[in-house]
Amino acid sequence: MPPTFFAITEEILDLNELIAQITTPSTGASVTFSGMVRGTTTKGRKFETDYLEYEAFKEMAEAKMEQVADEIREQWPNVVGIAMVQRIGRLLPGTPTVLIACTSAHRDDGVFEAARYGIDRLKQIVPIWKKEVGPNGEEWIEGSYIPAKGD
């Protein structure tokens, strides 16, 4: 079985540990996307963020992460290891919030594309939400993707 790892956690994210979980004797490449809390936003509406408060529907979120991993393996069959972790709770600017990592034997096996697909799909279908808290108050952020059959 190729290594697959998913979690919704309140613990600090450890990138090295995550990659170790999906490294096998034949692994020669890994690509990780990590997202963190942005304190200052300058694109579009400009604002400051004091912290983000994340919540998840854990059981469904982990099931949907598994579904995203299945979709990745269908499109990039040479991707071997897949890990996805979302941290929840109150997170300050600069703090890593999400990690998506993919491993394969070689760098041209689709790992770059797979990690990109993983974070894009997570933001579409994995039930996690964030509330933005700043100097002007707080606001729940809603995504723009509406799931369809097959999601």
Partner: protein, 85 residues
């Protein structure tokens, strides 16, 4: 009169705030669709949004769509479009 069964509902994020509760239980007619269920839920919890796509529904761990029938005893989750990452 048709048979009724109890379903349990969990709310998340903005819809938890709008519903004013984390969880809710209600009796619904057997064979009720997701669309009918949303209308029924709004009768109980008028803070929920009127219509449109801002209210997603999951049965168990999967998304459910308007025309689907809700099995009796279903565990339902109601939440807005997701915003993780």
């Amino acid at each position: 009169m048709s048979d009724q069964g109890q379903v349990s509902v969990r709310f998340f994020a903005t819809l938890r705030a709008k519903a004013g509760v984390d969880r809710h239980k209600l009796m619904v007619d057997d064979g009720i669709t997701v669309a009918e269920f949303k209308t029924r839920l709004r009768e109980d919890l008028p803070g929920l949004p009127e219509s449109g796509s801002g209210m997603l529904v999951a049965i168990g761990k999967d998304y459910a769509f308007d025309e689907e029938a809700i099995p009796s005893g279903a565990e339902i989750a109601v939440f807005p479009p997701v915003s993780g990452g």
